[in-house]
């Protein structure tokens, strides 16, 4: 299998883009990525685009064709990838596999979601499609409520507190202040989270990621070719793993861990011969604050049950034991299909030392962790500066 590197990135601001359409966001991120890679668009051989719910959110399917068309890249093959909130991560993995197999040398990977065209209720309903329609949504379950069921269990089994969960949001917002692409650029306090009102107890509004428009693009290139092209900011992807679990929460062995995350990360650690302590920063899937706590445990940074305390003690803040979500994570915008791609862009910036005020010192190895639904899909990427 051939090695694959990221050679260019493009990201729109995450936020409510009432003035920009789905296709304009694709064009903006796509052109930025091609310019950043310093390549000609015609050298791109294939496109993989992650998008979760465009059918419900803007009434448009056939996103693969739309992306190639918008970027003027016809007639190369262009494929939409859908894995709920992990669509972006799985699209990235598809692009990596296409190059490592020897089929292509250069591909573009995109992620896009336009969520503010419909009401919040309609957007929530569309996102609900990531869960089990027949046994969860039918009964009035929402995504916050599914994560709330995990949160309650974690609190009762391990003594995790609502304040500890709130700290996850506080830290995410603190990092997001220094990210110009973040939807919010303001700090919040534990008090703000605690008083933001229950959405599904014990989760409150500020425990949840927002509804966001945004697009992200990566240009991938076979590593040897990138070296020959003299692309000094190339970042090598040294592991790409993925695992699946039951679609519905009721099918899980445990409510306090995500087995798919544990399996995918174990494979990634084995492949790279790395351990959790070798990871300098992680962009993890914190769609809800409890998801942050579950992830830092399942990824091996802290023992099961100790995630809440670790966050409380600041062990996951910037330049601490493990720098979690220097970008601000999903709390600073979660255009679902774009999130997995944006995580990789943040790691690319960090490993190149270009992350400005949110820079993790001496960042050599970064991990991206992207989850679909309530944990039915998990994707892990580990990246290294070559």
């Amino acid at each position: 299998m051939r090695s694959v590197s990221i050679i260019g990135t493009g990201l729109t601001k995450f936020g409510e883009h009432w003035d920009k359409s789905f296709r304009e966001l694709i064009a903006e991120a796509g052109v930025k990525a091609i310019e950043s890679a310093k390549i000609e668009g015609k050298t791109i051989e294939a496109i993989y685009g992650g998008c979760m719910a465009s059918g419900r959110l803007i009434g448009q399917e056939h996103i693969g064709a739309l992306i190639a068309d918008q970027l003027g890249l016809n007639p190369i093959p262009s494929t939409r990838v859908e894995a709920a909130c992990a669509s972006g991560g799985v699209a990235l993995r598809s692009g990596i596999l296409a190059i490592s197999s020897g089929t292509y040398d250069i591909v573009a990977v995109g992620g896009i979601e336009k969520m503010t065209e419909v009401s919040t209720e309609a957007a929530s309903f569309a996102l609900g499609g990531a869960g089990d329609q027949e046994t969860e949504l039918f009964h009035g379950a929402t995504f916050p409520s599914l994560y709330a069921l995990m949160a309650r269990r974690h609190m009762e089994e391990f003594g995790t507190t609502e304040e500890q969960m709130a700290m996850c949001s506080v830290q995410a917002h603190k990092n997001g202040v220094n990210n110009p692409h973040s939807q919010f650029q303001r700090e919040i306090t534990v008090e703000d989270v605690m008083q933001s009102g229950y959405v599904a107890s014990p989760l409150k509004l500020l425990d949840c990621s927002p509804i966001t428009d945004g697009a992200a693009t990566l240009i991938l290139c076979e590593t040897e070719k990138a070296k020959k092209m003299g692309l000094e900011n190339a970042v090598e992807i040294i592991a790409s793993t993925q695992a699946s679990d039951s679609l519905a929460l009721t099918g899980r062995k445990s409510l306090t861990e995500m087995a798919a995350t544990k399996i995918a990360v174990k494979e990634a650690y084995e492949k790279t011969k790395l351990e959790p302590k070798d990871i300098d920063l992680v962009e993890l899937h914190d769609c809800f604050s409890i998801a942050n706590i579950l992830a830092i445990e399942d990824l091996g940074f802290f023992k099961k049950g100790e995630g809440g305390k670790a966050v409380e003690k600041g062990k996951t803040s910037l330049n601490s034991e493990i720098s979690v979500n220097p970008s601000g994570g999903l709390k600073c915008g979660h255009p679902v299909g774009a999130t997995g791609v944006k995580q990789a862009i943040e790691i690319f910036e960090q490993l190149n030392g270009t992350a400005g005020k949110r820079q993790v010192k001496n960042a050599k190895i970064g991990m991206a962790h992207n989850v679909g639904g309530s944990g039915a899909t998990a994707v892990i990427h580990i990246m290294k500066k070559t």
Binding site: H139, G140, A141, L149, Y198
Partner: protein
């Protein structure tokens, strides 16, 4: 709306009205809803129809304040994951129960209730909700 599609509702009567599930005689596991293939044994599995017991206990719960389409008039309402007496797990609403009685470990029993009425063109959907056993 998918919730209120007529063929779907007709197919779901046994599941939603009286918790019809199935059971794998090979690995001795109960499933709800019914599965076409035993995920543990796959083609070696021997699935037979079996009713799910009507009682179980709450494993986790939440009080939903922000509802999706069709449930706006019901907030706040309670959702729980229930472990049934045959170990199958069910997600359902908890109704007709005092708030302080809805907690992890509480015993619950199945009730037949209206679930949703979202689509003016579709049928009203009925099914299971649960009540705490005092």
């Amino acid at each position: 709306m998918v919730h209120n599609a007529l063929p779907l509702q007709w197919r779901k009567y046994p599941e939603r009205y009286y918790l019809k599930g199935n059971y794998c005689e090979n690995c001795k596991t109960s499933f709800f809803p019914q599965r076409s293939i035993c995920p543990n044994c796959r083609r070696k599995g021997k699935l037979v129809e079996k009713d799910t017991p009507f009682t179980g206990k709450i494993v986790s719960w939440t009080e939903v304040s922000v509802a999706p389409f069709g449930f706006e008039n019901e907030t706040p309402y309670f959702l729980a994951i229930i472990e049934m007496e045959n170990k199958a797990k069910i997600l359902a609403q908890i109704v007709d129960s005092k708030k302080e009685k809805i907690k992890t470990g509480a015993r619950v029993t199945k009730k037949f209730r209206k679930i949703s009425d979202i689509d003016p063109e579709g049928a009203i959907a009925y099914g299971y909700k649960f009540k705490v056993v005092e």
